[in-house]
Subunit: 293 residues, 2 copies
């Protein structure tokens, strides 16, 4: 027999709690999302999704799909921002019940640029910096920068900020295409140097997003969730239920390793008018989260 | 270790097969949805969701969220339609990869109206008629009509068409508010007389949608899926992840009883501009379906 209790949601009527922007946003210490207790990780949106929109428009869309966490892109809060602008930024987020939980991705080529990015992240008051350390290759292309990573290994300790390298698939084969290419360079560093696993680019690079989660969860500091049409360079972004990645396997892997960060949707289809695809994708991932509690 | 196979979807890249409109649409014989084999039931949209839109607009929205099955409302295909109009209707659906799989809800007061509805359903070429048989009560209100149900019990046999009574919650307490009120009147009839379980109205009536599925699955001929804000008459439609019904429990119950019909989203919020809520809700339900295979 089904009791009355079993057909109501355990955490009330699904009304999102009003979010606040704490002075220092440390997700590992934050409470679980209001929509359920048995979840270690949170659902968010990566700021790049809103590349064609200003902050207020981005926040309206984020609220519209009932999402609380936003990874801050510099086009919404510039690296040169003042403390007053940071305060105004968080106040604006709070108006919409949104929390900016991390920064990036930020590309950086020099020691000065790396230092600037860490100072920015500290000023913003968050504990996660998604970044891509590069140098110029022989043909002018961007390639991985081990020297800069060594400096970043010092900076994560100095600032106590996690640095998450964003993998970008086969489009930039010499600049962290996969989780594995990141780990190869950082495996002996401080554990705060890790990855922001972009599962779409991971698949486009012919690599397994699920295996990356299971193998490298100790350095998994952020996640860009999305789906893509095929596991090759030709793969393009698509509404999450319709792509090649088995999202249930991804969520089950995150549960298995007790991932405690954010899964941020980076939706790269219809970027001039993304809200419909965002809604379907957020709904889909949330459905899998709820079904696998 | 995760094999390559495990991170791709088993049924290909999620590209929907082009749907065709067979002369006679019998879902119990239809193939499972393209998005996975281990599912007996299908995802659809109830035509009432598009009450403010013409057929072409409704089909565009249905396609936009990658849904194949539509329950046909008479404002999109009138009861007095000709066979030529039926052919044109199915052709229009086919343009958008949509299949009209059933008709209704149709309210009916007289034997003539019931006969008209069965003739219409036969002409449309589908096997499920969602209906509400009523008579006028002492105060002019609509109340349940047992005499008409007895006639309908003959008609389901004459036409070999399933008749699914739609429950409508506490707004019409004398006209099938709950699954249980339907079953009380039809429990000794031909099994083709059954219910279209509206889980939102069921909850608003203080009844358990999950228990209704488990108890009455043999007469469960159609489903209106939705979520509502609270389990009382005050409950209103809301985006599916945000309501009071535990949708995972609903899907698990449907799997347990091996429901073979359609789960049609009847989205009743923002009816002038419903597409965003439809996208989030369809995404959410599909996520639960995929996660519970």
């Amino acid at each position: 027999m089904t009791t009355r209790r079993s057909f109501f949601k355990s955490a009330g009527l699904g009304i999102a709690a009003t979010a606040t922007a704490p002075a220092l946003i440390n997700l590992s210490a934050a409470a679980a999302e209001s929509s359920g207790a048995n979840t270690t990780f949170k659902l968010g949106i990566a700021g790049y999704t809103f590349a064609k929109f200003n902050l207020e428009e981005a926040l309206k869309m984020t609220r519209k799909v009932d999402v609380t966490y936003l990874c801050i892109k510099d086009f919404h809060l510039p690296l040169a921002c003042t403390p007053e602008e940071v305060t105004a930024f968080h106040a604006k987020c709070k108006e919409y019940g949104v929390i900016g939980y991390g920064c990036g991705p930020i590309y950086m080529e020099t020691a000065e640029a790396a230092k600037t990015a860490f100072e920015y992240t500290k000023r913003v008051g968050v504990k996660t910096l998604v970044g891509v350390p590069f140098k110029k290759g022989a043909n002018g292309q961007r390639v991985e920068n081990q020297e800069l990573l060594e400096l970043i290994n010092d900076l994560v300790q100095e600032y106590d900020i996690k640095y998450a390298i964003h993998n970008h698939g086969p489009d930039m084969p010499e600049l962290f295409p996969s989780a594995e290419s990141c780990i190869a360079r950082i495996k002996d560093m401080d554990q705060r140097v890790g990855i922001c696993l972009d599962i779409g680019h991971q698949l486009r690079d012919g690599k397994d997003p699920v295996k990356a989660i299971l193998d490298h969860h100790e350095r998994l500091h952020d996640m860009h969730i999305k789906n893509v049409t095929e596991p090759t360079k030709k793969g393009r972004g698509i509404e999450m239920p319709r792509g090649a990645i088995d999202m249930t396997a991804v969520v089950n892997a995150l549960r298995k390793v007790q991932y405690r960060g954010v899964c941020s949707l980076e939706y790269e289809k219809d970027m001039q008018d993304p809200i419909l695809g965002i809604a379907e994708s957020i709904g889909y991932f949330r459905g899998i989260m709820d079904a696998t509690r």
